[in-house]
Amino acid sequence: MSSQQFWPCTLSFKPTPEELRFLETALAEGHRPYVCEISDFGADADSGRAGQIVVRGRSRRELVLIESRKSIVSVFVSEFKFAADALLMWLGGAPVETVLEHLKDHLVVMPGMTSSYIFPHANADTSDAAAKG
């Protein structure tokens, strides 16, 4: 499944309480939350900001912050709920630095990586991911 299923909708699985809270809160705050790619979550805001929470294991998640359809940063965190709270902050207009600060106690370094972050469009000298590539 690659297409987005915008909430509210019937899902092929029962969302966890944290997942349901994310969907309902994002909707209540005026965003467009969705589920895609089996069990990834995301939401779009009218501001042009968006984000996705990608499954990276049973508990770990990759939070992708998007602005004007470009990925700004990917952050790897230990649990869905931390990614969800951070995504709601981002959609609400918080600066990226504030969002990352909020996540600082919940970061994980995925095996094969040297950092919890990927800045896909950063200069090579400011990005571990770029250096790896």
């Binding site: 690659s2 995301g42 968006a50 049973r58 770990r60 992708v64 990925s71 990927i118 896909p120």
Partner: protein, 119 residues
């Protein structure tokens, strides 16, 4: 390969390093032969890890999907990802013939996933 607890959508499998890091995790979707890769630290070992899941589950896997990240995503973006090489590796380890494609996910301009399907 360790068989982990299932969730609503499928059976989880994981491989751990000697240090205890979860270097590979994937979910075999219930009632299907589709494996969703959540993470692998090394694409060169991917085919062997899929073979291990297949052996552990006793199911012939015929479709594999995974959202690209980090180095693989960089390779797809800059055009250096070689689907033919991965296709050959899957065929060598899993048998049969495999189609491998990077598919754009329309949530942003730079979101991609890999789809590997047995012919």
């Amino acid at each position: 390969m360790i068989e982990e607890a299932p969730d609503q959508l499928g059976q989880w499998f994981a491989r751990y390093s000697a240090e205890g890091d979860e270097v590979f995790s994937a979910r075999l979707l219930h009632g299907s032969q589709t494996l969703e890769i959540a993470w692998t630290d090394n694409m060169l070992w991917l085919a062997h890890r899929i073979r291990s899941v297949q052996d552990c589950a006793g199911v012939e896997i015929n479709k594999i999907t995974g959202r690209a990240s980090d180095l693989l995503l960089s390779q797809i973006r800059n055009g250096t990802f070689d689907p033919q090489s991965l296709s050959r590796r899957l065929a060598r380890v899993l048998g049969g013939k495999w189609d491998v494609a990077a598919e754009h996910i329309p949530v942003s301009d730079d979101a991609w996933r890999l789809i590997m399907a047995r012919r």
